[in-house]
Amino acid sequence: MTRPDHLTEPRWVRGLLLALALGFLALFLLVPLAAVFAEAFKKGWELYLAAITEPDAWSAIQLTLWVAAISLPLNLVFGVAAAWAIAKFQFRGKQFLITLIDLPFSVSPVVAGLVFVLLFGAQGWLGPWLMEHDLKIVYAVPGVVLATLFVTFPFIARELIPLMQAQGSEEEQAALTLGASGWQIFWRVTLPNIKWGLLYGAILCNARAMGEFGAVSVVSGHVRGLTNTMTLHVEILYNEYQFSAAFAVASLLALLALVTLLVKNLIEWRSARPEPDSAPMEAMAAPVPVRPATA
C-alpha cells in the first residue's frame, strides 16, 4: 500500500521521523528491557539459578501465583456481572456507574493500599475487633489479596462492557423467545460471543495482579518468606545491594510481561478485533469507548 508522492512526506522527512520514533522507542523501551536481562546474567548462570531457587524467592513466587489465582476469578465474576447489567439493560445513572468502576485506575496505588490500612490496621475502624478475634488482614496475606483486587478491579469489566454493548442483545432475546433459561442464554449464547474479550481482560488483569507493587508494598509489611510477593522481593534484594539477585527475580517478571504481550497479540489476531484495541490496556477510563448506542 504505497502512497503517491503528493500524499506522503518527502523521503528525507520520512527518514527523519522514522529515525526519531525508533530512537525514542529504543531508548525508552528496548534498552531498559535489555538491561533487566543483562544485569540478571551479569554474574553468570549459577548465581541466576541460585537467586530464583532460594527459599525466600520461591515463597515469593508462590505467594504471587496464589494472589493472582485468588483475585483473577473474583474480578472475572464481577466483570461479567457488571458487563451483563450495563450492556444488556437500560437504567439511569449507567454512565456514573461506569465512571465508578474506572475509579481504581485513576487512584494512586499507594492510596489504594492506604485505605485498607485505615480500615483493617491496628488503628483502623475494624482493627480492635480483628485483634480480639485474632484475625490479621493488613501486614498479612489477606491484605495483599485485597490491595491486588482493588487495583485490578476494572480490567475485565472495562474490556467486556464496550464489547457487549457493541454486540447488542438480539441473540439473547432470540434465545429467550425460543424458551432458553437465563443460564442457558449466558452459557450457550453470550459466553461464546465474549470469550476472546474475556480472555483478553483476564490476561491483562493477571499481568497487573502479578506485577503490582505500590499498593501491595503498603499493606504487606514485608515479612520475608510470608508476605513478600515477587515485586517486593525484588525491592528488598535491590535495597540490600544484591543487584544480580534482584534482577534475576525481576527477569522472571519481565518474561511474564513479554508472554503477556505475546498472548495479547495472539488474541487480537485470533479474534480479528476490528481495531488493534482502541483502548490502552490500562486506560483509566478506556479511551474511545464504543460510541453511545443511539438508536
Binding site: 503528493h6 500524499l7 506522503t8 518527502p10 520520512r14 526519531l20 520514533a21 525508533l22 525514542f24 522507542l25 525508552f28 523501551l29 534498552v31 531498559p32 528491557l33 456481572a81 457488571a82 439493560f89 437500560q90 437504567f91 456507574l97 465508578l100 468502576i101 475509579l103 487512584v107 494512586s108 496505588p109 499507594v110 492510596v111 492506604l114 485505605v115 490500612v117 485505615l118 480500615l119 485485597l146 429467550l176 437465563g182 442464554i185 449466558f186 499481568a207 502479578m210 507493587f213 505500590g214 508494598s217 503498603v218 515485586t231 535491590y238 517478571l253 519481565a254 510481561a257 513479554l258 504481550l261 505475546l262 490502552p280 490496556m281 483509566m284 477510563a285 479511551p287 474511545v288 469507548p289
Partner: protein, 295 residues
C-alpha cells in the same frame, strides 16, 4: 389506517415501558446489578470513604496545615511538574510513534507495535530498578551522560521524569493510532488537489482530526504519572523538598504512624484524580462526537 394503529400501539407500549422503567426483557438484571453494586461498594467505595472520614479527625485547620506544609507542597510541585513534563514528551513522541506505525513501512514494525504496550505489562518495580541501573553513574547511559554532558539523571528530579516517560508511552500512541488509521485517504487527496502543500494538509486537516485523541492520551498519561510510585521510588533519590514525590510522602507518614496525616494527603490526591477523570471523560465525549462526524 392499520399502519397508523400499529404505530400508536407500538408507541404507547414504548412509553408505557419507559414509565414503568423496566430495564429490559432479558433475565438476570437484579442479580447482576446487585452483585456489581455490592462488590463495587465493598471493595472500592467504602474503603475510599475511609480517606475523608479519617482525615476529618484532624479538623479543618489541622487538615489544611497538613496538606499545605512546605514539604508536602514541594512534593506536589515535583509530582505534578514531572508528570506534566513527561506527558508533554509523550505527547510529541507518542504522536510521532503512532504516525510512523500507521503510515510507514519498516522491518520489525509488528514487534515494535506490540512492544509499545510493554510499560503496561512490565511491573513498575522492574522498570524502576532497570532505569536506575541504566542511568546510575556506572550504568550504560548514566556514565556517558555525566561524562560528556555533565548531566545527572538517577537520584534527581530528571530521573523521575525519565521513569514517568517510560510508564506513559502507550497512552498517546494507543489513543491516536486508531484515529489515524480511520482517516480516509480521500480527505488528504481533496486537500492536496485543492492546492494544499503536504505540511498544510497535515496541519490543517490531519492534526485537527487527531487533536481530541491526542489530548485524551495526554490527559491519561498525566493522570497515570501523578499517581505513579513503583518506577519512581528507585530512581528518585527521595530527598525531602528535592526529589520526594507525593505518594512516597504518604508512605512515610504511614511509617511514622501518622494515619490521619497520610489520609489527608491521600484525600487531596483522590480529589485530583476525580477531577482528572472528569476532564478525561469530557475529552472522550468530544472525541466521540468528532469520530461521529467523520463517520
Amino acid at each position: 389506517m392499520m399502519n397508523a394503529a400499529l404505530v400508536t400501539v407500538v408507541g404507547t407500549s414504548a412509553t408505557a415501558r419507559r414509565k414503568r422503567s423496566r430495564p429490559g426483557v432479558l433475565p438476570g438484571f437484579g442479580i447482576s446489578m446487585g452483585y456489581t453494586v455490592l462488590y463495587l461498594s465493598l471493595l472500592v467505595l467504602i474503603p475510599l470513604a475511609a480517606l475523608p472520614i479519617k482525615s476529618a479527625g484532624l479538623g479543618w485547620d489541622g487538615f489544611w496545615d497538613t496538606v499545605t506544609a512546605p514539604r508536602v507542597v514541594a512534593s506536589y510541585r515535583l509530582t505534578f511538574g514531572a508528570a506534566l513534563v513527561a506527558a508533554l514528551v509523550n505527547l510529541v513522541f507518542g504522536m510521532l510513534v503512532a504516525w510512523v506505525l500507521v503510515r510507514y513501512r519498516f522491518p520489525g514494525k509488528k514487534v515494535l507495535d506490540a512492544l509499545v504496550d510493554l510499560p503496561f505489562a512490565l511491573p513498575t518495580a522492574v522498570a524502576g530498578i532497570a532505569l536506575t541501573a541504566l542511568y546510575a553513574k556506572n550504568g550504560w547511559l548514566g556514565g556517558p551522560l555525566e561524562q560528556w554532558l555533565g548531566l545527572k539523571v538517577a537520584f534527581t528530579p530528571l530521573g523521575i521524569v525519565v521513569a514517568l516517560i517510560f510508564i506513559g508511552i502507550p497512552f498517546v500512541v494507543r489513543t491516536v493510532q486508531p484515529v489515524l488509521e480511520d482517516i480516509e485517504r480521500e480527505i488528504e487527496e481533496a486537500a492536496a488537489s485543492l492546492g494544499a502543500s503536504r505540511w498544510q494538509t497535515i496541519r490543517r486537516v490531519l492534526l485537527p482530526s487527531v487533536l481530541p485523541a491526542l489530548l485524551t492520551g495526554f490527559a491519561l498519561a498525566f493522570a497515570r504519572a501523578v499517581g505513579e510510585y513503583g518506577s519512581v521510588v528507585f530512581i528518585a533519590g527521595n530527598r525531602p523538598m528535592v526529589s520526594e514525590i507525593t505518594p512516597l510522602l504518604i508512605i512515610s507518614k504511614l511509617e511514622q504512624y501518622d494515619y490521619a496525616g497520610a489520609a489527608a494527603i491521600a484525600t487531596v490526591m483522590l480529589v485530583l484524580s476525580f477531577a482528572l477523570l472528569l476532564v478525561i471523560n469530557l475529552l472522550q465525549g468530544w472525541q466521540a462526537r468528532r469520530g461521529g462526524r467523520h463517520a
